[in-house]
Structures are given as structure tokens and as C-alpha cells.
């Protein structure tokens, strides 16, 4: 066996010994696609298909569900980058759990659970799209 063959065998063995989780991107918060303009078309299409009916189209003034552009209103006011990142991560965690588990309040389901329905990348693309639609001033409550 040549030295080159030994090296390639060693590299293959090392690669196979890696846990699968280490190869896959961590799917949870914070939003790994934040600010990535390339996912905006995907996020816009997914929002329109799955969310807009309740959370409102661009033109809707009276959506049935909350206006998701308001989720990070508080965080956007923070000047210190580290503090803002922490704040946004908390909002992302709330968003992530809400999307995966849906919303049930006192026995009434207000929002379906999207776990195993929407892929992780699509969930974050929607969030990125929502963040791209921030109005210059906070939207009305």
C-alpha cells in the first residue's frame, strides 16, 4: 500500500467517524439566513402560501393573526450589537417554537403546527422575508 493510499484511507476513516449532527447545520435559532437576500423570493413565496391568509398580505390592514413585522420592534431599538443579537435570538426562539408547535390557547387552536410540514430553511427564509419588510416606522398595533 502506497503512502498516498494510506493517506486517503485515513481521511475517509476520519470523515466517517464524524457524527452526522456535526455535518448538518444546526437548524434552530438564531436565524441562520438573516440578511441573506438570496432567500427572499423563497421566503416571499412561502409566506404568501402558508402565512399571509392569517398574518396579512402586504396591503392588508386588518390581519386576523399578529403582524409579524412587529416581532423584533424592541430589538431594533437597541444600539449595542451584542445586546441586539441576544434580543433577536430570543425573538427567533419564540418564532421557531411558535412555527413548529403552532398556537393552542385554552383548547382552541389558533395556528397549526408546521413541524414536519415546512423544512427548516423555508421557516427561516420566511423570517428573513418578514424582516425585509420592516416599515420605516413601527407598524400600528
Amino acid at each position: 500500500m502506497t503512502l498516498t493510499m494510506l493517506r486517503s484511507h485515513w481521511a475517509l476513516a476520519a470523515l466517517l467517524s464524524l457524527p452526522l449532527a456535526a455535518l448538518a447545520r444546526e437548524p434552530g435559532p438564531p436565524n441562520p439566513l438573516r440578511g441573506d437576500a438570496r432567500v427572499l423570493p423563497q421566503g416571499a413565496a412561502a409566506f404568501e402560501k402558508h402565512c399571509a391568509q392569517c398574518h396579512g398580505h402586504e396591503s392588508s390592514q386588518t390581519p386576523e393573526g399578529p403582524d409579524l413585522r412587529r416581532l423584533d420592534t424592541f430589538c431594533r431599538k437597541l444600539q449595542e450589537p451584542g445586546l441586539q443579537d441576544h434580543c433577536l435570538k430570543d425573538v427567533d426562539t419564540y418564532y421557531w417554537r411558535s412555527v413548529l408547535e403552532g398556537k393552542v390557547r385554552a383548547g382552541l387552536r389558533h395556528m397549526p403546527a408546521w413541524q414536519d410540514v415546512l423544512p427548516d430553511d423555508e421557516i427561516w427564509a420566511i423570517k428573513t422575508y418578514i424582516e425585509s419588510r420592516r416599515p420605516a416606522t413601527a407598524p400600528p398595533r
Binding site: 416581532l71 424592541f74 431599538k77 426562539t93 390557547r105 385554552a106 413601527a138
Partner: protein, 198 residues
């Protein structure tokens, strides 16, 4: 007062109404103060499960959507705070003060609220399933569509509490003060101490 003073006074009076508008705009754009207690950053959607917030001053804080699962919040001051949609499952809120607390859709499943004061609170569609509200005060609180399944409300002050369409299945109300309490469309199967004439 000469004419110039009079004119100045008139201009000041005419533009005085602008000051509150300008202040409100400034308030909307200024960096907010962030309160941090024992590592928990207290802002909307805060993620603080298990946090130690005993005796914390949370008066008037906007904590909508926050996660305080299993948090220690005994004797915390939550007066006029906003906990809309927050999760406080298994939290200890014994002796907490929550006058006029706003907590629609909040979840208090299995929480300990012994002696807590939620007078005048608004808690539509909140969930107190299996929570312990022994000797708590819900005086004049609005509890429409709230779930109290298996909850303990023994010796609680429920004067003028509005239980419209509330679910009190298997709840315990023995010893509770029920003066002017209303239960329209409430579900009370298996409830101990609930009135029988609603």
C-alpha cells in the same frame, strides 16, 4: 407686558401642543433601557426558563411572549405588566403582585400562585390547568374562556371575578369568596365549591 412679550407668549401658547408629540416621537426612537436580573434579559419574548426572579421589580414591563417556564418568581412585582401569550408553566409565583396584569393567552399550567394578587387582571384564554391559586386574589379579574381544569382556588378572593365561559372542570373552590362572582356559560363539572345555580 409689552407687545413683543405678548407676541412671544402667544407663539409659545400656540405651539405648546406640539411638545408632547415631539416627546412621543423621541420616546419611540430612543434606545430602551434593558433590565437584566440574574442573567435574564427582560424584554418582549425573553427566553428565561428557570430564571431566579424572586422579588424582582417587573412593574409595567412588556414581557409578551416570554418564556418563564419553571422560573422562580415568588413575590415578584408584575403590576401593570404585559405577559400576553407568555409561558409560565411550573413557575413559582407565590405572593406575586399582579394588579391590572395583562396576560391574555398566557400559560400557567402547574404553576404555584399561592397568595398571589391578580386583582383587576385581564387574562382571556389563559390556562391555569392544575395550578395552585390557594388564597390568591382574582378580585374583579376578567377570566373569560380561561381554563382552570383541576386548579386549586381554595380560600381565594374571587369577588367580582368574571368567569365567562371559563372551564372549571374538577377545580377546587372550597372556602373561596364568591361575592358578586359571575359564571355565565362556565363549565363546572366535578368542581368542588362552585355555585350550583348557574
Amino acid at each position: 407686558m409689552n407687545a413683543r412679550d405678548l407676541a412671544g407668549w402667544a407663539v409659545a401658547a400656540a405651539t405648546a401642543w406640539l411638545a408632547p408629540v415631539a416627546q412621543a416621537a423621541d420616546a419611540a426612537n430612543t434606545t430602551p433601557q434593558v433590565t437584566v436580573i440574574n442573567g435574564c434579559h427582560l424584554w418582549p419574548y425573553a427566553q428565561c426558563p428557570g430564571a431566579d426572579l424572586r422579588h424582582a421589580n417587573l412593574k409595567g414591563k412588556d414581557l409578551r411572549g416570554a418564556n418563564f417556564t419553571g422560573a422562580q418568581m415568588a413575590r415578584a412585582d408584575l403590576r401593570f405588566a404585559n405577559l400576553a401569550g407568555a409561558t409560565l408553566d411550573g413557575a413559582d409565583l407565590s405572593g406575586a403582585r399582579g394588579y391590572a396584569l395583562n396576560a391574555p393567552g398566557a400559560s400557567f399550567k402547574g404553576a404555584k400562585l399561592i397568595g398571589a394578587d391578580f386583582e383587576q387582571a385581564r387574562m382571556f384564554r389563559a390556562n391555569f390547568t392544575e395550578a395552585d391559586l390557594t388564597a390568591a386574589s382574582l378580585e374583579a379579574a376578567k377570566m373569560a374562556f380561561v381554563w382552570f381544569i383541576g386548579a386549586r382556588l381554595n380560600n381565594a378572593n374571587l369577588q367580582e371575578t368574571k368567569f365567562n365561559a371559563a372551564n372549571l372542570q374538577n377545580a377546587h373552590l372550597d372556602g373561596a369568596l364568591l361575592r358578586y362572582t359571575i359564571f355565565p356559560d362556565a363549565f363546572m363539572e366535578g368542581c368542588a365549591g362552585c355555585p350550583k345555580d348557574w
